[in-house]
Amino acid sequence: MNGVADNKNATSQIREFVLQKFPLARKRKVANDDNLLESGIIDSLGVLDLVAFLQQEFAVAVADEDLTPENFQNIECMARFVERSVELQPGSAE
């Protein structure tokens, strides 16, 4: 398992989803470290869309306690959250 490559892959997939789903993100050409929550690019319904995307695309479980700014404020944070979650899944070390 290559963590760096996986993270790059997750980053690009999440970025693609954010740009496709949220018009403000396209308009403002957001960077991967731009705060999407405080800038209003993604609201609470948008977070729900992101959660559904992450669950479907990366098969990660997202608990209420995971829905923090630390994990969801920008694309990089989300990618790191995905990477950590995948590592924690049973059988991921094989």
């Binding site: 405080e38 609470s44 209420d64």
Partner: protein
């Protein structure tokens, strides 16, 4: 980042509570209404929770305010979620969802029959969708023009608008006078405390198949008489001195809102009650009389008959009950939400 929900001690944590509320709900004087809203409610004290960050600071708050209700003809106590706020840096859905989940605990423990919240817009539904809940009903604004001066002057200018407005006002009055009230019913302003006759009326009006707040004297006195935050006026309808219906209003600059329209024989007495209310308000220069009701409220035909028209959809009502509980069975069995403005304000 570790977040934790903690119960608020309404005495020891009061100053911290004010600080969090002031950061998130700025248009309310929290000190002025605290004792009344949190401690003196005849249905019970508020239950309040903080969400704290890893440093222990409170970064969000919510409360459940008990409400005495009729639930399909049975008296019960539920809780209305209110004073909900999460600091800007923590609006990532998780903290809000954790707070909302905390409000379910008294319901799951059987202390309250159910709880409900009234998210004002679709964005506010996100945490409910996350929790697997959907709206139980939707509130709607209805409004009736009392006079047209200001609107027409704004559109047409002083000269033409003034003449048109006088004519339009006359038409509004003539239309209102076409409504005939039942004979032997007298209408009058009610001043002073609400007495036992109001409790008697609350018991007498059927709430079969519906959910609505209770209107005992103690509820009305708390909500309308000793409310430090708002003033209300009450117009009653009586037959031979017996209370049969009433309407309670609050006023803002140019508008009045029907907060509570309630009684026996509302089908026949209601239109005349509302007509008398309009006549009472017109000399005060008010433009509009508004009413907030659920989509299946019994008062809608009355409002329409009295010249109210639908203006806009408003807040949703989302309820939570303990799965399998008696309240759950009732709420999920086609219950009619007979809610008005009084059911969704503090």
């Amino acid at each position: 980042m570790t977040l934790a929900i903690t119960a608020v001690d309404l005495v020891a944590d009061r100053e911290e509570l004010f600080r969090v509320l002031k950061r998130n709900l700025q248009d309310v004087s929290h000190e002025v209404r605290f004792s009344w809203l949190y401690l003196e409610n005849p249905a019970g004290r508020a239950r309040t929770w903080f969400i704290r960050d890893s440093t222990g600071d409170a970064v969000g708050v919510t409360s459940l305010f008990p409400r005495a209700v009729w639930l399909a003809g049975t008296p019960a106590v539920c809780g209305q979620v209110g004073d909900f706020g999460v600091d800007i840096g923590f609006r990532s859905l998780g903290p809000a969802t954790m707070l909302q989940r905390a409000t379910f605990e008294p319901v799951l423990r059987g202390e309250l029959a159910f709880c409900y919240d009234c998210p004002p817009h679709e964005k506010g539904m996100a945490m409910f969708y996350r929790l697997g809940l959907k709206e139980d009903c939707r509130m709607h604004w209805y409004a009736k023009l009392l006079r047209t001066d200001r609107q027409l002057k704004r559109i047409l200018g002083d000269g033409v608008g003034g003449a048109s407005a006088r004519a339009a006002n006359l038409v509004l009055r003539i239309i209102s006078r076409g409504i005939k009230g039942p004979s032997g019913v007298e209408f009058g302003l009610h001043t002073g405390d609400f007495g036992p006759e109001f409790s008697t009326l609350d018991e007498a009006v059927s709430s079969s198949g519906a959910v609505r707040i209770r209107r005992r004297a103690e509820d009305l006195n708390w909500r309308y008489r000793v409310n430090p935050y708002q003033q209300f006026e009450t117009l009653t309808a009586r037959r031979n001195g017996e209370l049969i219906a009433y309407v309670i209003i609050s006023m803002t600059d140019n508008d009045a809102s029907v907060i509570d329209l309630f009684g026996r024989e509302l089908e026949t007495v209601g239109p005349a009650l509302l007509q008398n209310l309009a006549e009472l308000l017109r000399p005060r220069g008010l433009d509009t009389l508004r009413a907030l009701v659920t989509g299946d409220a019994r008062s809608i035909p009355l409002l329409r008959q009295n010249g109210f028209s639908h203006r806009a959809p408003a807040a949703r009502v989302v309820a939570f009950s303990a799965p399998g509980s008696a309240a759950d069975r009732v709420l999920k069995n086609g219950l009619r939400w007979d809610f008005q403005h009084c059911d969704v304000i503090a």
